[in-house]
Subunit: 384 residues, 2 copies
């Protein structure tokens, strides 16, 4: 049977880990035929470590795309390059799995999405956390009405501790010009995607209270508390940092029919709990003849299918879907949602916690981002 | 041995529960000698239910204070009356245990505190939650440096579900004129006191995002998300509502040396957990030569002394302290802190989440509160 021929653009930490998948035969219907990095040392490291028969190396992503060797690429370059490289692939009819985040700002990501739509080329994002059985189950239960009318989401996701050594390991790290943000754009894109994917809805407004270089010698945010409001009046809180240890990872989503609680903090013995109200709490509120009671509630640990294929799952699905064997699991065009949420938190943070209504004013965002880039410590190299 | 002679002003739910303590002999060095309510039906209910030998009933608190029958009073009237009645007692050299909150607005509470200080009369507040072994332990551990430099507090205290029936049970309930607020002033004064008492510090600024009549047919707030900043840069989130079931009660306080976690939500099997870092995380951050690790951390369930005497403990302590047998546990003058925090959240809520710096502008608060009182559904009866 035919296999999808993959290329990998960018051979840093993440790109290398995908080379490993292919070298270990973990991508059933895919084969790695080409790789690219502007840094010869990165290519040398891959050659030393892995034996990928027949794979060709490039120092320019366009040469790789023009080589005729690939049906699809994995984009594993710094965030700012994602949309442009994806569009270069779409223009050549080459499929794309783009690393998260989809890009740094929505304007750029929307152009990419429009190009993807026009081209009709398969396009996915590395939202590997969407393959996690717990998050899938939460999304499914909410869609099925398990919590009733959505009232509140709280995600404390503070287990992203990073040392100064981490930040000093690359001059592009944690800079406006190199990454376009801090903990929101580097560590949290999965949770920021999941919070809208699980609930099935974007906030209507966002406030972000951001600490810039609060715990580290960096220029971008390493501490965020965000407050969301939703169209139906529900509210949300999202708390993250790279400056706390041991952090927490606790997500609760509640509604009139009950609550879903997922605690994955260090030492937590909880996986996914469902608190189910016997009666809708809104209805109970209106009809109860007592003062202090609440609806009867039972709680149970939720069983899931246990499957959690992560990055491997996303790449296998993409190859299989390109071959018509199964549907595409992640539509790359959905990546813009997380970028919009991040941008809104950042924009609010730059402006003293201002309430940012969605959809975001993307011209304003880009203008303010560029003002930060202009004074960034990091100066990006020219890329062809 | 001499016993402290107590009077109770206000014989509603709370006042009646203290009558019960005395009737059951639970206040070792105290005796109930006088009670007061403006409502004859309330007095009749007490007379029917309890036999308090020799106790005299009044329909006017000043008559009770002037009777010569009491050494101390418990003030159990609506919140607005607390400071005035306390000052009436101080002026007569009569000790006061005031129900929480200390009052509705700081200006009023400060006048009370000044009067208390001038008079030198014993003054306490019913901060019964301060007797809880878990909260005492948290305060003690933090004071002893268990978490190192304070970084973050998050309290999700959403288990205050109330029905419409509750709100309709008294026309004064949940009105600006009757209570001066909603979930913040009625349900949450304990947590709002504890959050500053346990940490040992007031926030430097407060934002409150309040839903007014969001889940009920009331004019005051029944849903609040608040964001705090502290002088050293630490931040906090406080989430509460009377519209959610089953709510949560989860408090975490973290710092560079570790984290304290207290989960008392329905179904939670956790009491108090301590996550202890082997090394200060700030120091680790600066000196580590790895990118992704955090300090080694061990977590244990914390043992406490198990004592939790609540209201009974506060009243017994007050009687004993008046007799010189032990120190006063709660200094009534500390009640202003919680009131200031509540006022700041409310003021911010009225003003679209404006950042309110502490100390609060108390004239502004009173002016805006009075504007709300002027259009309140509830019209307060004249009180002599």
């Amino acid at each position: 049977m035919k296999k999808i021929r993959f290329g990998i653009i960018g051979l840093g930490n993440q790109g290398s880990s995908y080379v490993k998948f292919f070298s270990e035969g973990k991508i059933e219907n895919g084969v790695l035929t080409a790789m690219c990095d502007i840094d010869p040392a990165a290519i040398a490291r891959i050659k030393e470590k892995y034996d990928i028969p027949g794979a060709v190396f490039f120092d320019d992503h366009k040469k790789l795309l023009d080589s005729g060797l690939v049906d699809a690429i994995l984009i594993e370059t710094p965030h700012y390059f994602h949309p442009g490289m994806a569009m270069d692939a779409f223009a050549r009819g080459i499929g794309v799995i783009c690393e998260k985040p989809a890009g740094v700002y929505t304007k750029q990501v929307k152009e990419m999405n429009e190009a993807a739509a026009r081209s009709g080329v398969p396009f996915s994002l590395m939202f590997n956390q969407r393959t996690n059985c717990v998050y899938r189950k939460m999304r499914e239960m909410i869609a099925d009405g398990a919590i009733g009318k959505f009232q509140r989401v709280t995600w404390i996701i503070t287990n992203w501790f990073r040392s100064e050594h981490y930040y000093k390991s690359g001059s592009w790290r944690a800079s406006w010009e190199g990454e376009g943000g801090g903990v929101l754009i580097n560590q949290c894109p999965h949770q920021i995607d999941l919070i809208q994917w699980i609930i099935g809805e974007m906030p209507a407004s966002v406030r972000g209270f951001c600490g810039y270089g609060k715990w580290h010698d960096i220029e971008v945010e390493d501490d965020v508390t965000a407050y969301f409001t939703y169209k139906n009046g529900a509210t949300g809180v999202f708390i993250t940092t790279t400056g706390e240890a041991p952090g927490s990872n606790r997500l609760e989503i509640s509604g009139t029919r009950g609550k879903l609680l997922c605690d994955r903090s260090k030492g937590a013995d909880m996986k996914l709990w469902y608190y189910k109200n016997e009666q809708d709490s809104d209805e109970y509120c209106r009809t109860a003849d007592n003062m202090y009671n609440a609806p009867e509630c039972v709680w149970t640990e939720v069983e899931t299918d246990g499957l959690n294929r992560q990055h491997e799952g996303i790449i296998n699905n993409f190859a299989n879907a390109m071959l018509g064997l199964e549907p595409f699991y992640v539509d790359g065009k959905e990546g813009v949602r997380g970028v919009e949420l991040m941008n809104a938190m950042e924009l609010s943070g730059w402006n003293g916690g201002e309430e940012i209504k969605l959809p975001i004013d993307e011209e304003r965002y880009l203008k303010e981002l560029n003002a930060h880039r202009a004074v960034s410590r990091y100066k990006a190299p020219e890329v062809k």
